[in-house]
């Protein structure tokens, strides 16, 4: 009896499951190709769906440092000042601070906009919040806070009154206003309420980071506010109607940031108009395919980024400047652009769109004869076959193997041995922490944080970058550090740019890297119904700042 009933029960369950499954499937299949919302649903009037690479952004403005994180905080949090592209260059414009002045060489005073409210508490933003935000960024410099650490003197940074904040510096800083554009202001009271102890920041515990990363709310005052965070799936933002600034007339009412990696999925979603802007990380052939979809265009955005093949000056034979210079001439710059088309030919040691950029002091070209000439001047000439130059191919970067092989095949012609070594990214990061463990040549995309050339120079060649992925040269040149610091500390812009130009020439003649090309990011977007200012000018500069949602116009009625 029991056996029979058990079997009957199993069969019944299976049948029920089958019937429910089939019925649900049948019911679920919509009669028309395009899903139609139910009558009870209220679809958004103007919505924007933007892809984020692999992971959703870090929701803490003082932690976010990658592209998706920067795009998120740029739209949700207000900063003290902003950088804006105007008339072919980038200028500092008022934001939370309506005006500012330099009290002395090491003190800046900012006068805040009145009546700015935080999204969720509706509390007015004051100088105390700015003071707290600066302190938080300096004490936990995990995101962009690293930019402030060398400069900010916390003891002299204080709120003067409700709407005036004074920021003290340890030493004069000529680029401080650019750095101030990274001061994302948070609701200090909300942070204090949600601090968990113990944490890595001493008396400040975890500084509220754990709570903020859970994504219940945001604590900003920017043009968009967080309304939903579904880990691994999406972040939903809504327009902050109470924002003090001006929205474009047809700015999106809500913005959905989705974590889409797969090129085929991106293609499907863009074709179905379920994705409006792609990521910048798709393979070149995918952009070609996306460009063929009616109503989709590919924006080509010139970032402050460059693809370098960084040469380790402490590893023989690259410790000889002539060998490094020879490699300069052994790189086929034109073929490189065919392998990795998201680039344009480099014109200087920093991207050509940066303020203070100077062209290469002498021609940089693919020239085997010149390479041979340089090698003959090297101390290793005659025994080059004893040295094998290892060049990294990051396993995660499609096409990078061909870049390595391009250089290796040219090097072979002059008797230099280059071995292309495939390594996972984690291994590369670990190897680059010490001068002896990385390969001789490490290819890397580096993007600067602000428009002046010194931003890239500091990141790439100051000794503060030793041990990070920003540098593989490992120069032991105190005079180089001194020159970089001198440029940064020069207040007068004209003088600073002159010094910067001199510095770029000095670095060029060290032949530190192969300057393969300026980075041009591709992003597919629905040009039929989205008016995207960055795509029009093709200039973005800082990573993640290309998507300023409040400046975009969306025309859902034009959807095909």
């Amino acid at each position: 009896m029991v056996k029979r009933s058990v079997v009957a029960a199993i069969v019944a369950v299976v049948i029920i499951i089958a019937i429910v499954g089939v019925a649900a499937w049948y019911l679920a299949a919509p009669p028309t190709p395009t899903p139609t919302p139910t009558p009870t649903a209220t679809p958004p009037v103007k919505s924007l769906i933007v892809a984020s690479f692999a992971n959703l952004p870090y929701l803490d403005p003082h932690v976010a440092h990658d592209e998706s994180g920067r795009a998120y905080i740029h739209n949700v949090y207000d900063t003290l000042v902003r950088m804006e592209y105007r008339e072919g260059t980038v200028k500092i414009i008022p934001w939370l601070a309506t005006r500012w002045e330099m009290v002395d060489n090491v003190t800046w005073r900012f006068y805040l906009r009145e009546g700015v409210k935080f999204h969720h508490t509706n509390r007015e933003l004051t100088a105390k919040d700015v003071e707290f935000s600066v302190m938080r960024m300096v004490i936990m410099p995990e995101g962009m806070g690293y930019l402030l650490v060398p400069w900010i003197d916390l003891d002299r940074t204080k709120a003067i009154d409700k709407y005036t904040i004074e920021i003290g510096l340890k030493k004069p800083c000529g680029v401080f206003l650019y750095l101030a554009s990274y001061i994302y202001v948070v609701d200090s009271e909300e942070v204090k309420k949600n601090i968990k102890t113990p944490g890595p920041y001493g008396e400040w515990g975890d500084f509220g980071k754990g709570w903020l990363m859970e994504g219940h709310i945001d604590i900003g005052s920017g043009p968009y506010m967080l309304v939903e965070y579904v880990p691994g799936s999406h972040v939903m933002l809504a327009k902050n109607e109470k924002w003090w600034g001006d929205f474009a007339p047809r700015a999106p009412d809500n913005v959905k940031i989705v974590a889409i990696v797969d090129p085929a999925t991106t293609h499907t979603l863009m074709a179905k108009r379920e994705l409006d802007i792609s990521t910048v990380w798709l393979p070149p052939e995918t952009y070609e395919a996306l460009d063929e979809i009616e109503g989709v265009d590919v924006a080509k955005l010139h970032y402050y980024g460059m693809y370098f093949l960084m040469m380790n000056s402490r590893k023989p034979p690259l410790d000889d400047i002539h060998v490094r210079k020879a490699l300069f001439y052994l790189f086929d710059y034109r073929t490189f652009l065919e392998i990795l088309p998201q680039h344009k030919e480099a014109e200087g040691i920093v991207p050509s769109n940066m303020i203070g950029f100077i062209p290469f002091p002498e021609p940089v070209e693919y020239n085997i004869d010149k390479a041979l000439e340089e090698l003959k001047k090297s101390k290793y000439w005659g025994e080059l076959d004893k040295y094998e130059i290892a060049l990294t191919w990051r396993a995660e970067v499609p096409g990078e193997d061909r870049v390595g092989l391009l250089l290796a095949s040219a090097a072979e012609k002059v008797g230099l041995k280059i071995k292309v070594v495939k390594l996972p990214w984690l291994k590369v990061v670990e190897a680059m922490t010490r001068p002896d463990t990385p390969n001789h040549i490490e290819p890397m995309w580096i993007t600067a944080d602000y428009p002046e050339a010194i931003s890239m120079v500091y990141l790439r060649w100051h000794s503060a970058s030793h041990g990070t992925v920003n540098q593989n040269e490992w120069f032991d040149l105190p005079e180089l550090d001194k020159m970089i610091e001198e440029v940064l500390g020069t207040i007068d812009e004209k003088e600073r740019l002159e010094k910067s130009a001199e510095l770029q020439r000095y670095i060029f003649y060290l032949y530190p890297s192969i300057f393969a090309g300026d980075y041009i990011g591709f992003k597919a977007y629905q040009s039929k119904y989205i008016d995207w200012p960055s795509a029009k000018v093709g200039f973005v500069g800082v990573f993640g700042w290309d998507v300023e949602y409040w400046k975009m116009n969306v025309y859902p009625e034009k959807k095909i």
Binding site: V2, K3, V6, V7, V14, I17, A18, G21, L27, A28, A29, P30, P33, P35, T38, T40, A41, P43, P44, S47, A54, N55, Y58, D60, V63, H65, P141, E142, G143, V149, P200, Y201, K209, G210, M213, E214, P231, G232, S233, V258, A259, I260, D262, A264, T265, T268, L269, A271, K272, E274, P424, W425, L426, K427, V429, E430, T433, T468, V469, N470
Partner: protein
């Protein structure tokens, strides 16, 4: 009632309880292995977590907070202490407690697994039985072809094909995610179908099923094809046994009694463990399909944890996978004990 109790007693008197205890010990061993492996993988987890530009002193503080500056056995000791307090440590990917992350991501994968199981079990039973009852027939041949294709094509290719055909070309199903954007559903269990039913939101329920269809099918096809072949072989073997011939010679109804009752049941004993393990393996193997369908599941989270060397995340996810394997095995054992009287009687004939 007496018989029921005996059945239960039979089940739990045998190796199942011992199995559970042994499984817990295995989990501890698993945790030790994965804990060690995760830490000897290349890469500095603190640096990965804080970004390439964070100052070294902050990175060092972070290492100290995570005990990464201590010997491995000390790290494991602290990890165990935390585990017994119900904590898996902070995730270096999300900066939240790993247990919070698991609670967020696991339901999506569990829901997917549930629907894969429904499709897989139903499909296997129907197709395997049809094929096994009519060996050599045209339908058997057709199902053989289906099985070979199903086995050869990996799930992520099925995912791309299904997405392309049913979403892109036909537009019948959504291409990504668990619910349509315009539907808001409170999170109760994290399983959207269940949450929709609890809240009485039938539209959301149908929408969730609609979203589940393609990823579930993509994951189910390959395993279903393989299990269909296993069930078919077992059916053919059992149908040719003497006891079936005896039943047939007594004139019992072929399908109702002979095939379904006396041939299918023993045939399932070899198929069910495979089905169970295939379903359990989804917890770790579904990541490509989750990526393609932007499914916020634990496999996807696991890959992110691996890529960012999120030590606590990796260990937490492997432990969850281990627990799911163990639970699945116990369920398989229980089902087999019900199906096979020999197991119930402790191996006696």
């Amino acid at each position: 009632m007496k018989i029921n109790l005996n059945v239960l007693k039979g089940i739990f008197n045998n190796a199942i309880l011992k199995r559970i205890i042994l499984s817990l010990i295995s989990l501890l061993g698993l945790s030790l292995i994965i804990f060690t492996l995760a830490r000897i993988m290349p890469g500095d987890p603190a640096r990965m977590a804080l970004g390439p530009r964070a100052p070294e002193e902050i990175v060092q503080k972070y290492r100290e907070m995570l005990y990464l500056d201590k010997p491995l056995y000390v790290q494991y000791y602290y990890w165990l202490i935390n585990l017994f307090q119900g904590k898996l440590g902070p995730s270096l990917t999300s900066f939240r407690e790993v247990s919070v992350d698991i609670a967020d991501f696991l339901p999506a994968t569990l829901e997917l697994m549930l629907f894969v199981a429904i499709i897989q079990v139903t499909g296997t039973l129907i197709l395997g039985t049809i094929s096994g009852c009519k060996p050599g027939s045209a339908i058997d041949g057709a199902l053989r072809v289906f099985a070979y294709i199903g086995i050869c094509v990996p799930p992520f290719v099925w995912a791309l094909i299904l997405q392309f055909v049913f979403s892109y070309i036909l537009g019948w199903f959504p291409a990504t995610e668990r619910l349509s954007s315009y539907i808001r559903l409170p999170r109760i269990t994290g399983l959207v179908t269940i949450d929709a039913l609890i809240t009485g939101n039938f539209n959301a329920f149908v929408d969730a099923l609609w979203h589940l269809a393609l990823p579930s099918l993509a994951l189910a096809v390959g395993a279903m094809a393989q299990e269909t072949r296993i069930l078919r072989s077992a059916m053919v073997e059992n149908i040719n046994k003497d006891y079936i011939t005896t039943f047939l010679s007594h004139g019992l109804p072929i399908y109702r009694y002979v095939y379904f009752k006396y041939a299918l049941r023993p045939s399932l004993c070899s198929t069910i463990p495979v089905i169970g393990l295939d379903i359990a393996s989804l917890i770790a193997n579904a990541f490509m399909v989750e990526m393609i369908f932007n499914w916020p599941g634990i496999s996807k989270f696991g890959i992110t944890a691996m890529l960012r060397k999120d030590l606590n995340g990796i260990v937490g996810i492997v432990l969850v996978a281990g627990i799911i394997y163990i639970v699945t095995n116990v369920i398989i054992d229980i089902i087999l004990t019900i199906l096979d009287p020999r197991i119930r009687r402790g191996g006696q004939q």
